[in-house]
Symmetry: C2
Subunit: 344 residues, 2 copies
Amino acid sequence: MAAQQAEVAVATSHRQVLLKTRPDGVPKASDFEIVTVPVDPLPKGSLLVRNRWLSVDPAMKLWLGPPGAYMAPTPIGAVVPSYAAGEVIASDHPDFDVGDRLVGRFGWQEIVAVDPETIYWKVSYDDLPLSQSLGVIGMNGIAAFVGVNDICKPKSGETFVVSTAAGAVGSAAGQIAKLMGARVVGITGGPEKCRQCIEDFGFDAAVDYKSSEPLLDALKTACPNGIDSYLDLTGGSISDAVRHLITVGARIALCGTAAVPSWNPWPLGERVERHLLNKQALMQGYITSFQRHRWPDALQHLETWARDGGLVGREDILDGIDKAPGSIARLLNGENQGKLVIKL
Amino acid sequence: MAAQQAEVAVATSHRQVLLKTRPDGVPKASDFEIVTVPVDPLPKGSLLVRNRWLSVDPAMKLWLGPPGAYMAPTPIGAVVPSYAAGEVIASDHPDFDVGDRLVGRFGWQEIVAVDPETIYWKVSYDDLPLSQSLGVIGMNGIAAFVGVNDICKPKSGETFVVSTAAGAVGSAAGQIAKLMGARVVGITGGPEKCRQCIEDFGFDAAVDYKSSEPLLDALKTACPNGIDSYLDLTGGSISDAVRHLITVGARIALCGTAAVPSWNPWPLGERVERHLLNKQALMQGYITSFQRHRWPDALQHLETWARDGGLVGREDILDGIDKAPGSIARLLNGENQGKLVIKL
């Protein structure tokens, strides 16, 4: 078949964000550089996608190195890997038409040649904002769904706790646990994020880990019947406190370690063995991008809930690719208000 | 119905081991006292059981306090709680006859009045030693079966690791994992116990945690393809090392914390979150005495395997109730050679 082309001419050059230096701790703006490069010609059997939204996620700190995480770190000089949502502007593949909206790991760049095999999914709806395909109806929502539905399995009346509760995954997780009938308690930093948990996301209680009250005491007050399940997005001393309150048969899903600044040297914390043993409890880690077999079911639920209003996503929108280099630090320092995305 | 009585007259007095002082760390002989007391009359609807074998188990350290474990500690002055196997010498219950052999939590005493509701099970075989009903065909074997079969789920060709590998639970677990097709590596202390793992129990390799070689290095050599599942009976630095070698999708069953001397103050160790997350791995604790719904299936398998010779239990037999007070220290100091039981 003849390759389709968008009616508007495809640009001849576009911008990319490259990794300039290996980050030491939180990636900072100066670790990146923005370059203007020619647009690749459409490869045979492939697509050209114009990114409309770039995602900013905590996991990017791991992807950018140092080595030791679950995947090889991004090489210096490479385009920064990231989730993105974009529109097909040229297609040489029968399953994709110009104008199709796609989600994938398209990276921090304006235009990208995409092998159809690597696409995450096609966005079928047009009654909800495309940016949500990176948030509550995207990898963040899937992360929340897998953690809550597949591992935490909250039962009606049980207490479910989530850390980084006002964040993109945490806020979705709390809402999903509410939909499943649980009493939901969020752990977050500062009174404004606590307010969001309760007023914007409908949690039953929120605990401020930055408050002067010891976290364990605050959790005891917020969870008088103990903690039946916990979606752990922080690790560290926050999770140490949570484990003291788990009930018999508790389930802990591990999805992130935002509260642990470095794993080299390997950090110490309170031993978990006796907690899990005494309570016959379970702790299980998962990586959303490797749970691909769960994406379709998750997306179907998330889209339905988002349309019905049972699941809302707050967004923090940065305007233009120039904002990308500083965005990870903004996220990891907790300065964002909701899912951080970059509008192109 | 008229109560049955054994043909030999029931003794009028018997001996009990009482908890005299709350142990500080490993329970020592002087924490106990042996008293001679009258035999209780047969209560209505109940049984009198003459214990033949008393069990000595690591969990007894927890049962004897200090408080904070999964059950209230034994009161000072009470009979020491323990598993035991005995014979009915008087019955006022239609389901039990004089001569029936029973396993239960009968405690460190010679004769005990037993409420039939509290009995663990009736021993149906007589071609295998009764003492094994406290070992490989008893709670130790069940602990191994639940940990291996229900949580570790070793697949053919996978590497399974167990700590306290020469002990009663560990040696049974390794043999069960072998029967399920796994490559089995035991962690134990000293060359003699390593020899037992390989020669007596048929493990593929054994690692001596007391050797001068760093444990992580020795484990890497013994497990060149990583560790797919681990039955953790020690916790502590042994388990910290194991977690560095787990594979994607690994399963860790937590059954004991023999390497952690005290949980007050709560001890520190290497954080587990990033291990479990990177490897999408699972850690799950269980308490055999609370897994009652799994006992019948476990016992059926264990009895078959013991009879077929696929599962052997080494026993360390102490003679007489006078040996009971010092037996827990013997066990926790690793001086025993196999399942420690007291013959009455």
